[in-house]
């Protein structure tokens, strides 16, 4: 393998202000380079990606207010490290969708695999189906709304931001949690170390209401949700807590 074969790109053209990238013909490299070329000056705002067929690393590292529609299933790390862009995946996504997102909006019309929104610092991730394990792992400020359920170890070591789950949560929710806020409407199979149920106060209703508005969710009532957060007992090592580690 040589550098050139993998790193070479071909130009993206637009018609009527919309760029159409057909991944049956063009490459992921073509797509991402075309999107990155918009960073300094946005000349094409709308992007349609056809035939994604589970390709990995679609629309990663975008830093511009683009509207990107991916028409079909995406593989790993779709919209990874997104900044500013509005990315809609009209299908399911693989592992790590919107990982380390900084800002913008990523919407998954289908289900998302594990580690959705992992370590993300900002922006909004909406998953209209279910999310797999470790949804919001090490999240650092992103807001995540899952209309379905989430798998085990979701919000593990969550540091900041909001994870709202309209369905159920799997085992060890919020294990070793820092300051992320978790809301779940359905059942929680088990809570992780140092994660406890907390009182739902008016400011939390307000926080959830505002999240639903941003996500365009109109069929949920924040008062149906329970809140979970850190007990803050493991923030500093105490020998009496050794059994919890």
């Amino acid at each position: 393998m040589t550098t050139n074969n993998l790193a070479e790109t071909s130009a993206i053209e637009s018609v009527g202000g919309v760029a159409t990238v057909d991944l049956a013909v063009q490459t992921v490299r073509d797509l991402n380079q075309g999107l990155h070329d918009q960073h300094d000056e946005m000349t094409i705002e709308k992007w349609d990606v056809l035939n994604p067929k589970g390709h990995h690393n679609l629309a990663v590292g975008v830093n511009q207010k683009l509207k990107i529609d991916i028409h079909g299933p995406a593989g790993y790390y779709c919209a990874g490290m997104n900044q500013q862009a509005e990315v809609t995946i009209h299908g399911h996504t693989g592992q790590g969708v919107a990982e380390n997102m900084m800002s913008g909006l990523v919407r998954v019309k289908g289900n998302a695999s594990s580690a959705a929104g992992a370590t993300a610092h900002g922006g909004l991730l909406v998953i209209e189906g279910d999310a797999g394990s470790r949804c919001g792992i090490s999240m650092k400020g992103v807001d995540i709304l899952v209309k379905g359920s989430v798998g085990h170890m979701s919000c593990f070591m969550g540091q900041a931001g909001v994870l709202a789950v309209c369905g159920d949560a799997g085992d060890a929710l919020g294990d070793s949690l820092y300051e992320a806020h978790i809301y779940v409407k359905g059942s929680v199979k088990s809570l992780g170390a140092d994660c406890i149920e907390k009182e739902m106060r008016p400011e939390h209703i307000e926080e959830l209401t505002e999240l639903f508005e941003r996500a365009g969710v109109t069929d949920q009532d924040p008062r149906d949700f329970k809140r979970y957060g850190s007990a803050r007992q493991l923030y500093n090592f105490k020998v009496d807590n050794a059994g919890s580690y």
Partner: protein, 444 residues
């Protein structure tokens, strides 16, 4: 009548229960918590002192020590990156975090490395402006915690190092205790101030080498294939790890032996997990050679590098470059005897101080205390580090010329012999005065 002479048994310290062991048992009984400390393995390990060079004589032709050129430059990342890193010397600065070190110390590392044309590396805590500003070549670590990780800094980096582990604690995550989580450190890491921060030991969004291959492609896509991507592993199953790292698409592989330091982890981890640096290099080189990738995927070795002889020996065993951490801190002024009185107050002594996690470093290097930080001058520290790096390079060149090599990378295992059976077996070079390499068929 003569008085009967009394013979007394001299008190004998147990080799098993020596004074250090006894003190640790008492400390554990007193506190109920394992010992946390910085630095690397302190136990005696087979190391590069157990190897010697065979200088030229009748059968080899030496180079003039002060006249004939001996190249020290190395290019890293030639496999895939559009912009490989060109280093003037093959000694780089290993990853050490802002948080573990002060911003001034990070600045000094950048100043020293840049002065001699080499790279420095961020750490678990993100990229600081001080470090980026003073480092002409900066490697950005991509760690399991992803503290401070953002695409803007990623795009500012000259290379990306995906950290899977480090020699001091392969299989363990980072640790930064509450004393050092100041407002600035907390903000960069999105953590509550004063929390005992224990980083994850695994990356959050991939679980094996096949996933890592996709992750590396993501990083390449985000950076438009511009910069090299390193994979760093702690030395354990090095042969297999290196093969998998090549498969995953690494441009450069960093292997960190168990003498490699850390800012903080459990002592039991440091002393009982991993293998010595010297034992890891031949495994890594074998893996690369079998894949036809030696010198195509560059190998950086770290863990206990102290002088130019260590540099030259690593390169003779097949490394393309080395990285230093502990030695760089000492060059900056850490553990300097001029602070002996204060080290004593901390229950330690200059040269042995390793409680870097407590943030009370008298030298003002591994601390976030504003008053202690003032003791450290980043310009002077940078100058000292540059001097030290020059000495390492001159020493390595001296040995290479003596072996008749006009390039440090022309040194080869054939230039080495071992002083002990253990080092001969680990380094895979003959025991001195023999042609015997333990574990290998004898040839003449």
């Amino acid at each position: 009548m003569t008085e009967k002479r009394k013979y007394m048994t001299v008190p004998r310290e147990s080799a098993t229960f020596d004074s250090s062991t006894l003190s640790e048992i008492r400390r554990a009984a007193d506190t109920g918590i394992y010992d946390i400390r910085g630095a690397g393995a302190k136990r005696k390990l087979p190391h590069f002192d157990d190897l010697l060079f065979l200088g030229a004589s009748m059968s080899r032709y030496p180079l003039e020590g002060y006249r004939e050129k001996c190249n020290t430059s190395v290019t890293l990342g030639t496999r895939f990156a559009k912009k490989p890193i060109e280093l003037e010397i093959p000694v780089t600065i290993a990853g050490m975090s802002f948080g573990a070190l002060s911003a001034y110390a990070k600045e000094a590392l950048g100043r020293g490395a840049s002065a001699v044309g080499t790279s420095t590396t961020t750490g678990d805590g993100g990229m600081t402006p001080e470090e980026r500003g003073q480092s002409t070549k900066l490697v950005y670590q991509y760690l399991p915690s992803r503290y401070g990780m953002n695409p803007d800094d990623l795009r500012k980096a000259d290379a990306i190092e995906v950290v899977l582990g480090q020699g001091a604690k392969p299989g363990g995550g980072g640790m930064l205790l509450g004393q050092k989580i100041t407002d600035r450190v907390a903000k960069m890491r999105t953590l509550p101030k004063g929390v005992d921060q224990r980083s994850a030991c695994r990356h959050p969004d991939w679980t094996g080498p096949d996933d890592l291959e996709i992750k590396i492609k993501e990083l390449r896509e985000i950076t438009d294939w511009q910069v090299p991507i390193y994979i760093k592993v702690g030395a354990t199953r090095t042969y297999y790890d290196v093969k998998l790292a090549v498969k995953a698409g690494a441009d450069v592989i960093v292997v960190d032996g168990m003498q490699g330091g850390t800012a903080a982890t459990q002592d039991v981890f440091i002393e009982h997990v991993g293998i010595p640096t010297m034992a890891a290099i031949p495994q890594a080189v074998q893996a690369l050679q079998e894949m036809g990738m030696h010198r195509k995927v560059q190998l950086i070795v770290s863990g206990g590098i102290r002088n130019g002889a260590d540099v030259a020996k690593c390169m003779a065993l097949g490394a393309d470059a080395v990285a230093i951490g502990t030695a760089a801190m000492v060059a900056l002024g850490d553990n300097d005897p001029k602070w002996e009185e204060e080290y004593q107050k901390l229950g330690s002594t200059a040269g042995s101080y390793d409680d870097w996690h407590e943030g009370r470093d008298p030298a003002g290097i591994s601390t976030q205390d504003p008053e202690l930080m003032k003791r450290f001058d980043p310009i002077e520290g940078g100058r000292r580090l540059a001097n030290y790096l020059r000495v390492l390079t001159l020493e390595a060149q001296t040995l290479a010329r003596a072996c008749g090599k006009n390039d440090l990378r022309n040194l080869e295992p054939e230039d080495l012999v071992a002083l002990t059976v253990e080092s001969a077996a680990m380094a895979r070079v003959p025991l001195a005065g023999t042609s015997w390499i333990p574990g290998q068929q004898q040839t003449f």
